[in-house]
Amino acid sequence: MKDLEYGSMNEETVCGFSRRDFLKFCSTLAVGMGLPLSAGAKIAEAVTAQKRPPVLWLSAQECTGCTESLLRANHPTLEKLILELISLEYHETLLVGSGKQAEEWRTKSMKEYKGKYILVVDGSIPVKDNGIYCKIGGKTVMSLLVEMATDAAAVVAIGSCSSWGGVPSADPNPTGASPAHEVLKNKGVKTPVVNIPGCPPNPYNFLSTVLYYVTFKKLPELDDQARPKFAYGRLIHENCERRPHFDAGRFALQFGDEEHRKGYCLYKLGCKGPETFANCPVQLFNDVGSGAWPVGTGHPCFGCTEKGVGFTVPLHTPARPKYLTPPSLFTEVYPGKEGISPGVKALAAGFAGAAIGAAGAAAVTGLGKKDDDTKDKGE
């Protein structure tokens, strides 16, 4: 811990930060990844000791929201750190040169840093009609991805579009929008891919992943969808500050109703927190303090990080809770909906304590899931 006592640090600056702020920043990232505090010093060492890792950024079918999210991280002068921490060799939105110059710099960097650079991809890859729906410098982004990923050390797919398809892949997916890892797999490219989904993703999830790689020369532990476990290991529902309201059965039923104004649970407005894996309630956005995330501002989570939920399930359709089934005594999502007689509802609710009643109520209210998920597998 000695090396993390900031008090005695001098005015020396690292990457434009005071040494004290720089170490603080690295330690915060380390803790965010679930690493011991001492890893912060290691990250700081790795960042300052070696040549900055080259990063090439390929934009496909994107809206630049991921870049904006990264650049607008309100941690003071974070953009300075990003620009001085990594060596950003190619990024369409930020590159000074255009046209031929941009293309020349891209190929030059790829050659110079062959096998060493990190390729960041934002946006989905259109594969329909030979990929004509997105082109850069006359080449399809599909061919550019294969070309650039082949010589990369690792690929980081930032945002839901490049992680699982995102907005462009929504039904009927007019352009055959596909995630980066799928295109690479189909083309036989073996470069490891890590997915940082979110629309936009939290910039710290991206930064932490890149810094982890720079420090430990390997990717952080990933789940079955290649997402870093430190960021996507838990459901939003597990860390939500409104969770006590859910457990107590206190719900907002309409925007602006008394329950909504009181900050009750948004489950019945369609909140997808119970089926969405992300660290939004913990990491928050924009460094402005508590409540700075969608549910914190009173809007249901719509599952932007989660394949099969975000841009797929309608906003106000109730979530299909993973692991946690709400008690069957909860009031219905749509009270008074036609087709279910009040008698059946009362009967089901009346037997709610017994197994048969619980199943019946779940079936009537539509809250149950098909498989047995009464146990809290998520701990």
Partner: protein, 63 residues
């Protein structure tokens, strides 16, 4: 005799832009600009719950 030049990609803007122009005697005589990316969000919006529209339209551009 006119000469045609193409600049693709145009950088420091959001999205994928390409500019073609014809130059004659030091003057641009004709010019074309084209977006090099299409997602079909209008097509995606068809048939959806109108309350969901903003989720998609908001993402035309993230800037």
């Amino acid at each position: 005799m006119s000469k045609r030049i193409t600049i693709d990609p145009i950088t420091r803007i959001e999205g994928h832009l390409r500019i073609d122009c014809e130059i004659d005697g030091g003057h641009v005589t004709k010019a074309w600009s084209s977006g090099q990316m299409w997602r079909g969000i209008e097509t995606i919006l068809k048939g959806r719950d109108p309350r969901d529209a903003w989720i998609f339209t908001q993402r035309f551009c993230g800037v």
